[in-house]
Every structure is written in structure tokens, then in C-alpha cells.
Symmetry: none
Subunit: 138 residues, 4 copies
DNA sequence: GTGGTCTAGACCACA
DNA sequence: GTGGTCTAGACCACG
């Protein structure tokens, strides 16, 4: 599971975490019973305070998405409601539109924008691959 | 220009107004020199406090997007993007990354994602062109 | 209503506030419908953070003791359950015992302890009188 | 020596242990040179983690109240109050004030309050005397 | 090491 | 001015 925080969006960081964990669960990127990243390491990785992650996890627990065993960790629950295909499509479209509108606002041409998209696709794929290798090496 | 406030998103209302005015300007829905809605009616329409709209307009003025002529109203300035190139690039990259990560969470393939990007580019370009025509027809 | 925070007791400050507001309500020192001190001034008087008082008031609202009207203030509700006489007596006895045990721990004689009690009774009565005068002068 | 933990008070458990050991020493229930309960059985009796009891004993040792002989146990030291006179006075004053304010909240008159103080002084003195007799009888 | 709580500072929305 | 929220730092209890 890869989390990406947008600090300039104005959206509370803890809600960004909540939404992305839900998205990962909805997509199957995070499997039922699987452990979520521990609060402390995740906070360090995202460069936010421990409590911000803790608040996100507490919210997820309240909504019944995860289960938290103090001293053990947090785990995705079996019975989590997966999002419907149309809803996922709509959420993704919103994110794509946001990027496109921003690009137009900054007067970036269609070609430059597509080039950037390919760059970032490659960069994040590379990062994800490194992550996997690291995990296997353990 | 139509503004839509999402009270559940957690994003500060005044920032939602700021962003949407910027987006309207970027998309051509709001033309340079054109007047923005007055504070009082807009606040009523959006069901928010007048202070909140005033704060959004003050922020837009600070960023050089609009110009306030006391007693006359607020108007979109001619050259309203004053951010440095690297900063704009970084902000745009964040938006692109956000969309890509969301796509990954939803297990959308690279090809399908790029197809969606092209679709939305076309759709938004079409929308912008319609605005232009509407303006010329006036 | 006079609040007295004991910073060395280890008991959370916000719970001390909760208990003392309940005690004041139970005793009639705070009347139904009456306004509680506003968060900011009270926090300043007690030398604690605004949020600490806010948390105490939120807890009191959750328990149904007070009612909070955002932008207006916090008010004691009509239907608050007054404590039974025996319970009040028991709570007071606990506080007295705590002081006496502390005195013995510090090897303060019975006479010195009683002298201190009289001193503090006079001091706090004086303080309360000054408070009343200030209120009347307004 | 009987220890009683209140899990609802919000006061840290290890501090409750510290205070009650001090009170036991002050009241004579625990005599200088006498051994304190061992960590493991006490933790089981109080239903708390062993670390918590260990932390309390470490704090008591730091404050000079007890002495830890590794492998032998923990023992109450002969002279266990090392605070400066002003500090002790201040701590005691806080406890006295707390009781007085509680009395005021419960609208207990000065006379009734003083009567209660005398009652409790007598009661606790009696209790301490009983402890002394018990010790001499051994 | 794990998660949880209390206090604090800065900011938001509203009257 | 009012109360409410988000983020952060320090500490607590537990395995």
C-alpha cells in the first residue's frame, strides 16, 4: 500500500490517510486480515506527527474498516464494504480532472502535461518496485 | 461561474472558494476584467458566513488573482499567475501523483489510466471551447 | 464559581474542571440556565491551554450537564442530576483526608495544620469577596 | 499495607502506587526498614502490568523514599522526606485549598467544614495509634 | 516494540 | 467576541 499526502490541498492530512486506506481496501491492494503499517513508522515516512496517523486509524476503527489490537497493531477487518465500480471510477475521475485543471491554470500544454504524467507513472512504478524488492529481501 | 461547496470534505470552505475561482479563471469560465459575484449574495447562495467569502476574496487579492476596487466590486486581474516555475511544477506534480496513486489503489492498469486522462483532457477542452464560443457570441 | 486546579495531583486537568463544574452544579453554586465562564478567559485564569478547557466543556456536554451554543457560550442545563447528600459528603471527606495525610507525611503538627486551614479559609474568602465586588462593579 | 487502584480517576496508575506507598509510610502502616511487596505479586494483585509497578518503585527510589537492594527486594528508608520546606508547604496548601473549594461548592459552612476537619483528624489519629499498638504487640 | 491520552498552538467558521 | 478542529509533543500502559 502506497500513501501519498498532498500537503497543499488544504484537506486534513488524517482524512487523506483515511480515504487512501479505504481506497486500498476497496481495490484489494490491502487484503482482509492484513496488517496496516504501524503508526510510528508510517508517520515518519509521511513526515507527519504520530498522532495524525493515530487519528486516521481511530477514525477507520470507528467506521468499522479496521480492527486495532493495542500492543499488536492494526488490521483490515474481514467485513469491509468494498466500493462499487462506478464510485471508484468517479473518485479517480475527480483526481484526474483536478490535475488537468491545475495544468491549464499553470498554462502547461497538453503535450507537456502528458509527458509529466508518463514521467510520474515511471517514477512511482520504480518506487513501488524498489519497495517490493526490499520487502522480499527481508 | 458556478461554485460548489463540499462541507463534508474537511477542506476549509474559504480555500474551496479560492481554488474554484482560480479554476474558473483557468478554464475560461471567468474572463480577465470580469466581475466576481458580490460577497453578500454569494454568501447567501453558498449558505456560508459573509466573513468566509470575504476571507476567500482577501486571499485571492493577496495572491494577485483578483483586484478589489472598494465600492465597485472585485475583478479578475489580467495576469493572475505569479508563482515561480518550480513551485508550479511541484504543485502540478503533486496533483498528478495523487491521481496515479488513486489509480493504483483501484488497480487500474497504466493503459486504462492513460485512456482516462486523454478522455478527460478532451472533455475539459471541449467544455472550455464552449465557454469561448459563448463569450464571442455575446 | 471558583475553580481550583491542582497541577501536581497527576489527575488530568480537564477532568478536574469537569468534576468541579459538576460539584458547583450539584451544590447550587451554579444555577440552571446560568452561563459558564467562557473558554478563553477561564483558560487564562487557570493558566492552562484553551483546548484543555474546551475538552472539559465538551465532556460536560456529552454527559448532558451543559449545553453549548457555538458563538454564544456554554450554559448549565435545566435537567442536571444533583448529587445525593451522602455522595457529596463522601467526596468532601476524601479531599479532607488527602490533605490530612499529606500533612502527616510532611510531619506537620495538628496545631500547625489547623492554623494553615484557617489561613486558607480566610485567604479564599477574601479572594471570593474581591471577585463579588468586581462583578457588582461591572 | 493495602493498595487500591482507581482506574477511572484518570490519574496515572504508577503515580497512584507512589502516592499510596508514601501515604502508608506517613500513616505508619509501613515502617522504616520494612520490605515492600515484590513487583510480580503486587502487579498480579493490582491487575496491572509489571512495568507499571516497576516504574512506581523506580520513582520512589528516585525520590529517596525506598531503597532497592537487587535480588533482596525494596525497603522503606529511614528518612524518606527530602523535599525543601517551602515546597512541602506549597503542596500541602494545594491540598487544603482543594478541600476548601470543594466545601464551598457543596455550600458547606465554615463551621461545618472545621467540624469535619476535626473529626477526620481524630479518626486518622486513632487509626495511626492502632497501627502503633499493633506494631508494639508484635 | 505496540496503540492510547493529555496538553498545547494555530487556524477555521460564525455572531 | 464565541466554540470547534487539526496537528504536534510528551507521556502512559502494555507485550
Amino acid at each position: 500500500m502506497i500513501l501519498q499526502i498532498n500537503f497543499k490541498s488544504g484537506m486534513p492530512v488524517y482524512l487523506q490517510i483515511v480515504d487512501q486506506v479505504k481506497a486500498a481496501a476497496a481495490s484489494g491492494a490491502l487484503q482482509p486480515g492484513e496488517a496496516l503499517p504501524s503508526i510510528r513508522p508510517l508517520a515518519e515516512e509521511l513526515r507527519v506527527n504520530r498522532n495524525t496517523v493515530a487519528k486516521a486509524y481511530a477514525e477507520l476503527e470507528n467506521e468499522g474498516v479496521i480492527e486495532t489490537l493495542p500492543g499488536r497493531g492494526c488490521f483490515l477487518r474481514e467485513n469491509h464494504s468494498a466500493l462499487r465500480e462506478e464510485v471508484r471510477r468517479e473518485l479517480l475521475t475527480q483526481d484526474v480532472d483536478q490535475a488537468i485543471v491545475q495544468a491549464h491554470h499553470f498554462q502547461v500544454s497538453r503535450e507537456d502535461f502528458l509527458k509529466l504524467v508518463h514521467e510520474r507513472l515511471d517514477a512511482l512504478e520504480e518506487k513501488r518496485r524498489a519497495h517490493e524488492d526490499h520487502k522480499e529481501a527481508q
